[in-house]
């Protein structure tokens, strides 16, 4: 099915983001990668919802979008505090 293609690409993206996450080198870089990873995750879940014709999965995407932001902020918070 044609909807396999986007999910394939997104899976690939996940791998790219992961490799960047591991490469680092600084924490800020990792957080950026992590942030991208979650964004891709949101997309992936939405694509999966379309692919499987299950709109309920979109709810998960909403939760992820709402809450993953907090994680990023916490990292930034930490980064700054660790400097003081």
């Amino acid at each position: 099915m044609i909807l396999e293609l986007p999910i394939l690409i997104l899976a690939l993206c996940l791998l790219l983001a992961l490799s960047s996450l591991i490469r680092g080198p600084s924490l800020a870089n990792r957080v950026v990668s992590f942030d991208l990873l979650t964004t891709i995750g949101i997309g992936l879940i939405a694509v999966y919802a379309v692919m499987t014709d299950q709109p309920v999965f979109l709810d998960i995407a909403v939760v992820l979008a709402l809450i993953s932001f907090l994680g990023t902020i916490a990292f930034a918070f930490y980064l700054e505090r660790s400097q003081r």
């Binding site: 899976a11 591991i22 924490l27 990792r30 992590f34 995750g41 709810d59 994680g71």
Partner: protein
């Protein structure tokens, strides 16, 4: 009869208050044993007539434990000894401990002891007997340690307790086996039933019971606790450690003779151990200079004689044993009390430092004379009769007559010497300067010894009555058949008489040349280093060392090694069970796999491995977050939206939590060596492999859920919800959720407590740190916020 036994326990509870009445307390306490003596005496006609008075009360019938009592000749004789000697001891103690502030406790303990001893000798139930047996050990512990500030007293008390309780535990096993083998825990039934000797368990039963009896009655090699026990106050030594408690083992052997006796093993073990104990006790007694230790070792020797006699298992031997036992209880009890008086008055027990006391304490001297004469076996004292009977018995032996007669003569010579030593040195000759100056001895002190000493004389004089009244019923009970006893002082000139004369003369020679004896024996002696007392010490040390060693090995404090241990246990228990018990069928679960699933799996795998090698803790936290998100994605792919949502949310919170905490912690450090890492990796991988195997096996076992169909059908119709997972967690299995939020709540309280609760000392530390870093202002603010609530 129950009341008779239990009255002592009851009184002991009140002893502390009764003791407050002052000087007359000894006489008052003595009323109880006196009444008991009279009570038991009241059974005299019945006992002579061969009656057995029984009384039984249910206690723990489910475990075959009854408060069953049985008053026959043997137990009656023992009960009389316990209560009558007790009477004198109690009076004596009143005077002896006149200034002792803890005398109430003393009476409490000794009352417990007396009651236990009565229970022991009267009990018909094996377990009840054992219970009282243990109580005598326990009360003995408290009494030996009565001078509790003294290191030696505490050590001796412990030694006595461990030895007798150790034996007691063997006894317990033996008694249980006996009860199982004989199908009854009632001694009377066992005696009537018989057949235990042929039981396959006979040998262990006998060995276990003998261990118990031998430890209690201070047989070699368990004898060494008894001299140590002399740290107890003299009334205790007299009562427990010569007259009654140490005889409990003898009593038990006598009691069980009809059940266990008569076998080759019995005939081998008892005489051998008893004979050895006779010799060792006698040998050691003469090496002492401490009055009480002389008496203690001679007591050991006498106890050996009793075991020896019981082991012979003949009517004559039994008769000899009972006579010996009664005679010994009287003279040895008296001598211990006298030793107490001497110590009390002079402040020393060293016989070489004493002399001329006869002039100061005539009544005591008389008592000591009587008791020593009885001990030395001089007619017409009762001791003479016992010695005659002993010789008669050994001479009647078939193969070993010469050996055992020689042994008996040698031992008795030493006993004569000891008796002379005990009397002559302290009482005769010139008055010697002692730590304290002796005064006239009050009635309370000398009454007991004199009565007991005179008792030895009276028994000798009233021999036939004593024989038929006291000795015959006991002997009958031992042999489980009626026996005639005819005692007489004069049998004409016979081998026994000759031996007696030889013994006395030999004893005097030994006394005269005891320096030579001492010199030789001290050169030969290795018991200082190799004796059983040293085994005990080494055993104790070994236990402590083993304990320390084991604690070092198992309880080392290294958390990671604890975890390693758990892993090893998992590997061994689960792994071995799996390998040995499970039959691998080789079937594998389905292998279909989608690309995005595979990618997710790869991501999780890479991230988790990254966690292991991450150099920075925050990088590890990020990777951990990736693992969590990855798992959430798997939940998405396999139809678990609620799970995925929760996992995402929780994961994010976890990341926040870690971030908030971790920046206060040091960065990762690699402490472990390469070897440790390899070892841990191998172990962890093994557990992982095990888990993988378990998962693979479990997924091939096709067992459809028994719960799911019900939930699917009832979720909407009965529980009014279309999200089955949610319906499960709030309704079908709502209690899980209740527990779960409770856990969370407690965790939140815990975090609060950990972060806020500061003991005053810690607060000081924190305060200085806060002042240094200038955090103090913020601290105040947060406490303000707390105050708002």
């Amino acid at each position: 009869m129950l009341i008779a036994v239990l009255s002592g326990f009851g009184f002991s509870l009140a002893a502390i208050w009764i003791a407050r009445i002052g000087r007359l307390r000894g006489w008052l306490f003595a009323l109880l044993p006196l009444i008991l003596t009279l009570y038991f005496l009241s059974f005299t006609p019945a006992i002579i007539a061969g009656e057995v008075i029984t009384a039984s009360y249910t206690w723990v019938p489910s475990l075959d434990v009854q408060l069953a009592f049985n008053l026959d000749g043997l137990s009656w004789l023992f009960a009389l000894l316990v209560s009558s000697i007790g009477t004198f001891i109690f009076i004596y103690a009143g005077a002896y401990m006149a200034d002792e502030p803890l005398v109430g406790r003393f009476y409490a303990y000794i009352l417990i002891f007396m009651a236990s001893m009565l229970g022991l000798v009267l009990a018909d139930n094996l377990i009840t007997l054992f219970i009282f047996w243990e109580l005598t050990s326990f009360s003995s512990y408290l009494l030996i340690g009565f001078n509790h500030k003294d290191d030696a007293a505490r050590k001796a008390a412990l030694q006595a307790l461990l030895i007798t309780s150790g034996g007691g535990l063997a006894l317990m096993a033996g008694l249980i086996l006996l009860g199982l083998a004989g199908n009854s825990f009632e001694i009377s039934t066992l005696v009537a039933g018989g057949g235990v000797a042929e039981h396959p368990l006979y040998v262990p039963i006998l060995l276990l019971i003998l261990t118990g009896a031998f430890t209690k009655s201070a047989q070699v090699p368990f004898h060494f606790w008894l001299p140590g026990a002399m740290t107890a106050p003299s009334p205790v030594s007299a009562y427990l450690h010569s007259a009654t408690m140490v005889k409990a083992g003898i009593y038990l052997l006598a009691r069980l003779t009809p059940v266990l006796g008569g076998t080759d093993l019995w005939h081998l073990l008892l005489p051998a151990v008893g004979g050895l104990t006779m010799l060792v006790g006698a040998y050691l007694s003469l090496r002492q200079v401490d009055l009480k230790r002389i008496l203690a070792y001679s007591t050991i020797s006498s106890l050996g004689s009793l075991v020896f006699l019981l082991g012979l298992d003949t009517p004559l031997a039994a008769q000899a044993a009972i006579v010996y036992l009664v005679a010994h209880s009287m003279y040895k009890g008296a001598l211990f009390l006298i030793a107490g008086i001497i110590e009390h008055e002079t402040g020393t027990r060293d016989v070489t430092a004493l002399g001329g006391l006869a002039r100061i304490m005539p009544a005591v001297t008389l008592a000591a004379g009587f008791a020593s004469l009885s001990m030395a076996g001089i007619p017409p004292f009762f001791g003479f009769v016992s010695k005659e009977l002993l010789y008669e018995t050994t001479l009647g032996l078939q193969d070993t007559a010469v050996l055992f007669t020689t042994l008996a003569v040698i031992v008795n010579m030493i006993m004569v010497a000891a008796a002379v030593l005990v009397f002559v040195r302290p009482f005769t000759g010139a008055i010697v300067e002692t730590p304290q100056t002796p005064h006239a001895v009050p009635l309370g002190l000398w009454l007991g010894p004199l009565a007991l000493g005179t008792g030895g004389l009276a028994a000798g004089l009233l021999l036939s009555q004593v024989g038929s009244t006291f000795i015959a019923p006991a002997v009958s009970a031992i042999l489980a058949e009626p026996i005639e006893v005819n005692l007489a002082l004069w049998h004409g000139i016979n081998p026994m008489l000759i031996l007696s004369i030889v013994t006395v003369l030999g004893g005097l020679v030994v006394y005269r040349y005891r320096h030579v004896y001492e010199r030789i024996s001290s050169r030969l002696d290795t018991s200082e280093r190799w004796g059983p007392a040293q085994w005990y010490e080494r055993g104790l040390d070994a236990v402590l060392m083993l304990g320390q060693l084991q604690t070092r090995i198992l309880q080392h404090g290294y958390l990671r090694v604890y975890l390693l241990t758990i892993n090893l246990v998992v590997i061994s228990l689960v792994g071995i069970t799996l390998v040995t018990r499970y039959d691998f069928a080789g079937q594998l679960p389905s292998t279909d796999l989608h690309f995005h699933e595979a990618v997710t799996a790869v991501i999780i795998a890479v991230a988790m491995i990254y966690v292991l090698f991450a150099r920075s803790r925050l990088a590890a936290v990020v990777a951990l977050g990736v693992v969590g998100y990855g798992i959430a994605l798997i939940f998405v792919f396999f139809g678990a939206p609620d799970l995925a949502m929760t996992q995402f949310a929780i994961e994010t919170l976890t990341v926040i939590l870690m971030v908030l905490i971790l920046y206060r912690l040091p960065s990762f450090a690699n402490f472990s060596s390469r070897g440790q890492r390899t070892r841990d990796a191998v172990v962890a991988l093994s557990v992982g492999a095990l888990i993988t195997t378990l998962v693979l096996i479990s997924t091939t076992i096709v067992q459809p859920s028994l719960l799911t169909p019900f939930f699917a059908e009832n979720s909407v119709t009965e529980a009014q919800g279309r999200n089955i997972v949610n319906v499960i967690i709030v309704d079908f299995r709502g209690l899980d959720t209740m527990g779960e939020i409770t856990v969370l709540s407690i965790a939140a309280l815990g975090v609060y407590t950990l972060l806020r609760l500061r003991t005053p000392s810690q607060r000081k530390v924190d305060l200085t740190a806060a002042v240094e870093t200038g955090e103090i202002a913020e601290k105040g603010k947060s406490e303000e916020a707390e105050g708002v609530q």
